[in-house]
Subunit: 598 residues, 2 copies
């Protein structure tokens, strides 16, 4: 049935909403697609719902092609399964919790791993039942601290989440690949550029984890990529450690006075004034050829405080080249599930052996940092701090540093840690060249969960030999409402939205202009013919609205193909208007219909 604007529930707005920070939010509200109901919670108006349904349709199609079956879990779930997995607690403030009238605990599910696992456990018991892939398209909830950017980070949002179940690792690889391929087809059909980046595989113990990122400036994720094809988000980037350097013949460590040098920069300035020029490469390849002291010659020791799941607080010191900083996201992943923060004044007071601004691993009387040292504080090194590299670092005495302090000879760490920031030009770990940094927005995630949930919740099946084996799972998510917002973010101009045909709320927007009944009759006929041939038609039949307003609305709403029926109607002429290119062309009505159908 042709949708008539004279009756359709649509009101376009002239003003940008006051709370819109990003283009997609601004345009989706102005063009009548969504409306705010509460912070991070939106009402879907007819136009928005139509686009959402188109995106969901494409996803369903490709899930079916990938052999996945649709199910639907409740949004309101009891505490027990999440208690069993430990996530009732570990979600912290991030979820909505509630009681029912009997006082039983419930949550609004942010994801459904537990429920999928238990459902399959409930119904399946044999290797013959596997492989299985099931998915749902569902409204999910997260109690975001700062809901923002419209649909890009909401508190109620729609996701497609799929899970695969296999009893062998080879099976899981195949299931993973099938979903990964489906994701590529989905994003291709949506016309949405994507980069598949290696992602951290978290605590679940699975092997592969990849994110589909859409490269976009407003993206919250930073990722790195090389020309040779490497791509990873910064959390998953791994540092290529240089080879060890022989330290035969390097002189002994020398303590020197360094008044007023609590920062790396003041220390470097001091060294260049008071020390002899450095030899090349003494702090590894990064200082090759340096004729002056640089931050890269110094070893920075950053004191971090971890809070473990059981609530205990532990100090950890990270030693990294002075030209690097601790990257918060990489630290978060490196130390998960513990929470990380900078050490506080109180922490320093509790450890008087740490001389703030002059901390180092070594002293003349023995090691200062490390589990076996005077402080007993765990000391982790950046992978670049290989044996034989020589550093300027704190001497653990106020206003004194030490130089020619050689790793592996004068100090050792308790292990290595990947927390240093990644920079453009850093080498891709696969040898495919230097990386560049880019911003992206996560639009999908394929993830081998492995056996974590199956083990925790007891999902086992009998294998060919009648032996109980734990099932291995994959998790595959796509943010439906986020994708809609990104498509709006990408497809617009100063006059409004310009939808790709695959997700446009209507296929054709027919605009009748003028006061001539002939135009309205012809527009009516064109609309009916297009609709009859299977196209969705929005017909602007409003009788007393000026062409300017109608064209403005058409541009704002963003249906890609517009037919204007006006002045030439009596001669059977209409105008075809391509919303994206702006081109208009006068053609016969028969031609117009044929081309739109084609």
């Amino acid at each position: 049935m042709v949708t008539r604007l004279s009756h359709f529930f649509l009101r376009t707005l002239r003003e940008d909403p006051a709370d819109a920070e990003v283009t997609s939010h601004r345009l989706l509200v102005r063009a009548g697609y969504i409306r705010r109901a509460a912070p991070g919670i939106f009402t879907w108006l007819p136009l928005g719902l139509r686009v959402k349904a188109k995106i969901e349709g494409i996803i369903r199609d490709e899930m079916t092609n990938a052999g996945a079956y649709e199910v639907h879990f409740p949004a309101l779930l009891p505490r027990e399964p999440y208690e069993q997995s430990g996530r009732w607690t570990s979600y912290g403030d991030g979820i909505f919790r509630l009681h029912d009238r009997k006082g039983a605990d419930y949550l609004l599910a942010p994801t459904h791993e537990e429920m999928f696992t238990l459902l399959v456990k409930d119904l399946y018991s044999s290797y013959k039942d596997l492989p299985l892939s099931i998915y749902q398209i569902q409204d999910k909830y997260r109690d975001e601290a700062r809901p923002r950017a419209g649909l890009l980070r909401g508190r109620e949002f729609t996701m497609k989440d799929a899970y695969s179940f296999d009893y062998t690792d080879e099976g899981q690889d195949a299931s993973y690949q099938a979903q990964r391929d489906a994701y590529e087809r989905i994003f291709q059909r949506l016309g949405l550029e994507y980069v598949i980046v290696a992602a951290d595989n978290g605590l679940m113990g699975g092997a592969r984890s990849e994110e589909f990122l859409h490269p976009i400036a407003v993206g919250e994720d930073t990722f790195v990529r090389s020309e040779g094809g490497y791509a990873a988000n910064v959390e998953a980037y791994t540092t290529t450690a240089p080879g060890a350097i022989p330290f035969d013949g390097i002189g002994a460590p020398v303590i020197f006075d360094s008044p007023d040098t609590p920062t790396i920069q003041t220390l470097v300035d001091h060294a260049n004034t008071h020390l002899a020029a450095p030899a090349s490469g003494i702090a590894g390849p990064a200082t090759d050829g340096a004729t002056e002291w640089t931050a890269a010659h110094t070893l920075k020791n950053v004191v971090l405080a971890l809070t473990h799941l059981d609530g205990t607080r532990e100090l950890v010191i990270v030693g990294l080249p002075g030209d690097r900083d601790v990257d918060d996201k990489r630290a978060e992943v490196a130390f998960a599930p513990a929470a990380v923060e900078a050490a506080t004044e109180q922490d320093f007071e509790n450890h008087p052996l740490l001389v703030k601004g002059y901390i180092g691993p070594w002293s003349e009387s023995g090691p200062v940092l490390g589990e076996e040292s005077a402080t007993g504080i765990r000391y982790l090194l950046d992978p670049r701090v290989v044996d034989g590299t020589a550093w300027i670092t704190g001497a653990n005495i106020d206003e004194k540093h030490v130089h020619t302090l050689v790793a592996g000879r004068d100090f050792t760490g308790d292990g290595f840690v990947e927390v240093a920031n990644v920079r453009a030009g850093d080498p891709a770990p696969d040898g495919s060249g230097p990386v560049e940094l880019a911003r992206g927005m996560e639009i999908g995630h394929v993830f081998q969960l492995g056996r974590f949930f199956a083990e925790t919740l007891g999902l086992k099946v009998l294998d060919e030999n009648g032996k109980l084996v734990t099932v291995t799972m994959g998790s595959y998510g796509i943010g439906v409402t986020r994708i809609l917002a990104i498509l709006a973010e990408l497809n617009n101009d100063e006059r409004g939205l310009v939808w790709p045909a695959s997700v446009a709320p209507f296929d054709v927007h027919v605009v009748a202009t003028g006061k001539d009944a002939v135009a309205f009759e012809l527009a009516e006929r064109v609309s009916a013919e297009l609709e009859a041939s299977g196209l969705d038609v929005l017909y602007d039949d409003r009788p007393k609205v000026s062409p300017g307003v109608k064209f403005g609305d058409a541009e704002l709403v963003g249906v890609p193909r517009i037919v204007i029926v006006g002045r030439g109607a009596a001669d059977g002429q209409v105008e075809l208007w391509d919303r994206r290119s702006g081109e208009r062309e006068v053609v016969s009505v028969e031609d117009a219909v044929a081309r739109l159908r084609g």
Copy 2:
């Protein structure tokens, strides 16, 4: 794409679920349509989701035909709008409430009147924008005290709720009629018998309110209907008051001793032993021709306690013929929004003038019941207690009653009230004959809300004269998941479900039997051909499953048309099996495909 049982996510169960009270629940779980997640909260498995989608498709179709546009509100909503309408409080324990991380109050919406009203207020402002009908299909939440009967009374359930917006009463009538017509078409397409009954129009002040009830023994609603076409739920039934009776010449009231007669039955026995036989019709038409005293000659005075919204408690006494009882549901509606219960011992202690078992409106020293009486307690009469009717009732003295107490002469009420139970044989109020009582299940409700929400939330538009007028609204609900359950309740036999074609999860179920590759090849071809012609095919391609198990599953799952490909496959013969009639017919494969397509 043909759905293959060898991969499909389905596990039929041999045992009935322990908690299933009704057939639909039992079969939907056993046949793999739904699975319990929590009390009154279900997971939808692929088969169930397909049936649900078919029902939703029919509803969407007819909403579109009725000119309604689809929107979608959040399930998680802030308190404010519900505070404004007063429902945050009046919902009591019936809804799920929660806080977000900032402590703001939210609810899981049980209905969305407030949000629809505010959305239209937000976007529309002129009579030119109206009429408007918008709807959503949405998961709703009610914290039922006793979730039961599977999907029939759940805590999470899917509804279609539509609202119409008009600025004139005539407009509202047209919008109402359009939805009412759509409902008739929906239920016809679903093959679901319905009775449209007059319903109570509640507190909102609207004019029309009708329920679509499906007549079914497990139904929770009692309704009445006459052969002449009257139908109403018991809450909406109105008593036809007889005409007043002249009371000239009737003797004065006579107090008489009636020891040990605190109940109507003991009183009637006493009267028949000690009083002269009654004259005909003295207590109205109900006692015409009676030669003995009956309960219908007595006036029963029932003490009720109302709790008003502001928490105050008020006693009310209802005078009704002794052969009637107070119907709880009718009392609930009659006194809404106050809550009603029987008076407690404490209430009687607080009113020593009420002599329990011997309460009546009259005493020699003056009125005892009524706002102007000695007790000051409001006294409401059943409509049958018209002026001139003469009663035996309590004399307000222990073990004494009074007879020949004439309404309108010796006592009056503060008004009339419709709380007496309705009985088979009572007259339909429209004169269409005696009513019978039946049980039904509400499957839809069309309801003129009138201006309650628009007034409360400030939804006004400018009319043709530039005057602000309050919008009038209609509310139209259909329970999607409840309809699915009722269809399952109706369409089954001892072997399983038997879906109507309009909502069956698949159009055809193809079963390959035997070990002969020819059968599987032919079944494969038949499935592909049927699917290619637009039918949804479930193909049982399981290689090592016996025909018995396959047929049992087919019967349990309930796809109405089954094709068996087995023994005759080599000769191009298949069997067409009609699930409902049980008839099987051997036909050529070409014939089978042609007939299934037809």
